[in-house]
Symmetry: C2
Subunit: 403 residues, 2 copies
């Protein structure tokens, strides 16, 4: 059991990790009703115009615009030769001196080139008097005005928002080709770790990290494969890492927060691939290890629940979003005064969890072994490496946890 030798800075660790996490290739077809939040993997080309035909943009009367020009002086009277609802095909042609009553969304009848809004008309005995002139094209949505047939409407790499799902529907598509989600293996390690639901024997604790990691991974675009607990035995660990690295896009191990146990994983990764860093200048979360086996990133997280989850937000979240080709997470930040003096002497960049109440931030951090350091918190404050003290009442920027 020997202590860490060379800690890397948070920034260097993150940069190294991001460099080795590449966006996944490969795609799959999904139904548009579950496509929101996915990323388009092939340019979507419009197979038809939207709208598919010239249509009335307002309730009113489809007219020959030039018929209405005299209405600047006095009302123009036109003969109503038909009525057209949305969804009906036009049967009557509009000729000079006539008009067809149209509902919003109804196709523009042949011969007409404008719609007079119902507000500027008065109908009586089959005749309508028009009180305002319209120009050609007034209150008409032209075919293809929204989307042109043949146009690339969504490029490969586009994130699907509700509106973009709407574009797919507007084109009549029922499915869309999107990038597959990265598959991440989550491997709990440690002889003391037991899955929830099993009885605890003396000296044993429940596996927490697999579930917190799974929650963070799933809400950031990954498919999670939770694997059984691996005891701290070299052969078992090596075979678990080797097979997970072959079949998944990323491997995240948790546990063995001590140097002694972590050394096992260092050995395994050195044997199977390359260790890129071991030990980061952050608090909590120092005993973090990163390597690659083949092209697969392997992240060794601290065993302590708070250290592990804190690192999941700092390292795993941006990495998996990059692999899933998702845009960076929008962080919700608020600036509030610190409710009580806080002394930090770690000499590491610190992620201090806080509870926000009555417009103040209260430090919620107990120690890295306490899951309640995170679960009682509303967000965290990042304290720089060289900061020793924040006074009561000093303003801090809190990054809020997702809701």
């Amino acid at each position: 059991m020997e202590p860490f030798r060379l800690l890397v800075s948070f920034e260097e660790a993150l940069e190294t990790l991001m460099r080795h996490c590449r966006p996944v290739d490969g795609s799959e077809s999904v139904d548009i009703s579950s496509a929101c939040g996915r990323v388009v993997s092939t340019d979507v080309v419009a197979q038809q115009d939207v709208p598919p035909f010239d249509r009335a943009a307002m309730d009113g009367y489809a007219v020959v615009a030039s018929d209405t020009f005299p209405a600047t002086q006095q009302p123009v009277v036109l003969e109503v030769t038909g009525r057209l609802h949305a969804g009906e095909a036009p049967s009557t042609e509009v000729t000079p001196g006539t008009c067809v009553q149209v509902a919003t969304g109804a196709p523009l009848p042949p011969g007409a080139d404008a719609v007079v809004m119902v507000e500027f008309t008065e109908e009586q005995d089959g005749k309508v008097s028009v009180t305002r002139p319209v120009y050609p094209g007034a209150n008409v949505s032209r075919a293809g005005e929204d989307i042109d047939r043949g146009q690339v409407v969504l490029r490969s790499g586009t994130y699907l928002t509700p509106a973009r799902v709407g574009v797919l529907a507007a084109l009549g598509m029922t499915s869309v080709t999107v990038f597959r989600r990265p598959e991440v293996a989550v491997v709990p390690t440690g002889r003391e770790v037991v899955p929830p639901g099993r009885p605890l024997r003396p000296g044993q604790v429940f596996d927490v990290n697999s579930f917190t990691l799974e929650a963070v991974l799933r809400s950031n675009g990954a498919v999670v494969r939770r694997l059984p607990v691996v005891t701290d035995e070299y052969g078992a660990l090596r075979s678990a890492v080797e097979s997970a690295a072959q079949s998944c896009d990323m491997v995240v191990l948790s546990g063995g927060s001590s140097v002694g146990e972590k050394d096992l994983l260092v050995g395994v990764i050195e044997e199977l691939g390359t260790v890129h860093f071991h030990g980061v200048q952050v608090k909590p979360g120092k005993p973090t290890l990163f390597g690659t086996v083949g092209d697969t990133p392997v992240l060794g997280m601290p065993g302590y629940p708070t250290s592990c989850l804190s690192n999941a937000y700092m390292f795993l979240l941006p990495a998996v979003r990059k692999m899933a080709r998702l845009p960076p997470r929008h962080e919700h930040r608020i600036v509030v005064p610190l409710a009580k003096r806080y002394v930090s002497s770690s000499g590491r960049k610190q992620f201090l969890t806080v509870r926000v109440s009555d417009g103040h931030a209260y430090p919620a951090y107990k120690h890295s072994g306490a899951i309640t350091s995170m679960s009682d918190a509303d967000g965290y404050v990042v304290l720089p490496v060289n900061l020793d003290v924040i006074e009561e009442g000093e303003e801090v920027e809190v990054v809020m946890f997702d809701q």
Copy 2:
């Protein structure tokens, strides 16, 4: 076809809607691996201590603290009588003059009351020399220190973050009781509306709104029941609304953007329940109707895709989050200059969609019929009722769409 008579303000409309949307009762049990994002419906009481036993918080040696006090002067030598890994039950008692080597997470052996960190020791030939004294309790996590058995750890109404899922796992729970999700019926209406995938006949368009509404609803805690298109026929509409209101927690209709068609829905709701407002001073989204049938809120959305989706963000999103007992959505806002002069003369509160590029906001709004007004946008700017012009370069606050 008569125009709207009395428009209500946006604020009044939202207040009315929120008042009639009540948080759902009823709960269900979910596996902890899918519990993130759900809301606890019964206080969770800890059935055991976390940690379950006194344990070493550091790698080192479990000692009788008072043995180490002389180490202020010179190293203290103790006999190593055992070694204990995490997950092992202690077999050796620590008596004065002796110690047991312990790994982080290992149970504290009986007799010991502190742990000396490995960094302040040197072991040779079964004896360890301790170079720093420790106080009783040093580097020990006490049983129940994180969570006490019998304690209410998560109150009913608590939103489950990854950390709170971790709390459930730490207690050995495999499932948790959460509020059920509100079930929302989405009913497209209009003779011109055809589900994507079917062939379009002249005058027909594809159903867009069911899919955009579903996307917004699903990402805000609802279960969505998409119903078949209802033609604008009074009897069919009444029976669809009546049965959806009986079986779902909320009914959202879309379509019939014109006053004429909307009147049908007004009539149906007046017959089955109460109309609370019809017509809102917003752009886009004016032709919005809200009523209740029994206790069930019924929202009639404009048929135009942009109006419908804009209203989904403004009205439906906060309403459904309240019903699902979710905290208000964190809005990500940025302040940037407007890239070009914008003239608004609607006399209504306006939600102007914008694209954000090169640190500027470009108006993306074409008209309410164009889905690309939304799909090409990154967010929206809210313009007050009384605002006429924003000059180029003036700063605007953009609420970004979710990513």
